[in-house]
């Protein structure tokens, strides 16, 4: 790991990128977090509160990421102390990349907070987790279409089995700021940039 880091990234700053992992409670965020960071997680207390959060680091493609498991929240208008901390974490790290985790069986609820984050203009990537449960319930989520509409990378994952976690880590560097206006336009069917999306295969990250 360290070797890879040394040769891959001589010119990049060492401190790495902060990734805030954000989503509703019970979407398998912690499981995903554990999959990505392995054993080196640290539990800390958020200053001035009683809320604990977990953070850890991992290296992907020669780049170091510090990933923070933000307390689960339904919206950025907080209801309790844990949600309050989620909002403060977003505010305190304006340069961070936000990894929005959705439950594939409950996409609508997760998308609300996802849109709120996107409105803040932070670079985002979306993980649609719990694909196994969705499959069992015969729910299908069109990942490519979701990516086209949102204009940020969308990866499907099953944290419990580890499926898709590798892709998610690789796609992190392609996280980008969503254009909320463009999302609204695409939803209305005014798809001015359709050509360019088709041209590059629609990965949304390049």
């Amino acid at each position: 790991m360290t070797e890879e880091k040394a040769k891959g990234n001589a010119d990049l700053p060492e401190k790495g990128t902060t990734v805030l992992m954000l989503g509703n409670p019970n979407v398998g965020k912690s499981a995903l977090f554990n999959r990505m960071t392995g054993a080196n997680a640290i539990v800390s207390n958020y200053p001035g509160t009683t809320v604990d959060f977990t953070s850890g680091t991992f290296i992907e493609g020669g780049h170091t990421y510090t990933i923070i498991d933000v307390p689960g929240t339904y919206s950025l208008e907080p209801r309790d102390a844990a949600e309050e901390v989620a909002v403060r974490m977003l505010r305190d790290s304006p340069d961070a990349t936000v990894m929005i985790v959705l439950d594939a069986t409950k996409t609508d609820r997760g998308l609300y907070v996802a849109l709120e984050v996107m409105e803040r203009g932070m670079p985002c990537i979306v993980a649609v987790n719990m694909m196994d449960a969705a499959h069992e319930k015969k729910i299908t989520v069109d990942i490519a279409e979701l990516q086209r509409i949102l204009g940020v990378p969308v990866v499907s994952t099953t944290a419990t089995s580890g499926e898709g976690v590798r892709d998610l880590a690789e796609m992190l560097r392609k996280a980008k700021v969503a254009d909320i206006g463009a999302i609204a336009q695409r939803l209305r069917g005014e798809e001015q940039e359709r050509e360019s999306v088709r041209g590059c295969g629609g990965c949304g990250g390049c």
């Binding site: 339904y74 208008e77 069986t105 409950k106």
Partner: protein
């Protein structure tokens, strides 16, 4: 027919028409106007009410359920 959610019988379906309390929290849990729900259970001695909204199952206090108006007999 418009009734209070708290009066919806077990196993019956209805469509949410009006939320007379702070709607934000309920919206965040997936209960929104126009959504269809199904009554799962009401707990005894004025305990909470459990409803099913599509794939979501949520529990709310009885007083909250009394402030939600639903329409029965629609096949939405």
């Amino acid at each position: 027919m418009l009734i209070k959610l708290s009066d919806l019988p077990f196993g019956e379906r209805a469509v949410v028409r009006e939320i007379r309390t702070s709607a934000h929290d309920l919206n965040c849990m997936g209960l929104r106007i126009g959504k269809e729900l199904k009554m799962v259970t009401k707990q005894p001695i004025k305990g909470p009410v459990v409803v099913l909204l599509g794939e979501l199952e949520i529990a709310m206090g009885l007083e909250t359920a009394e402030l939600i108006v639903v329409e029965t007999g629609t096949d939405a």
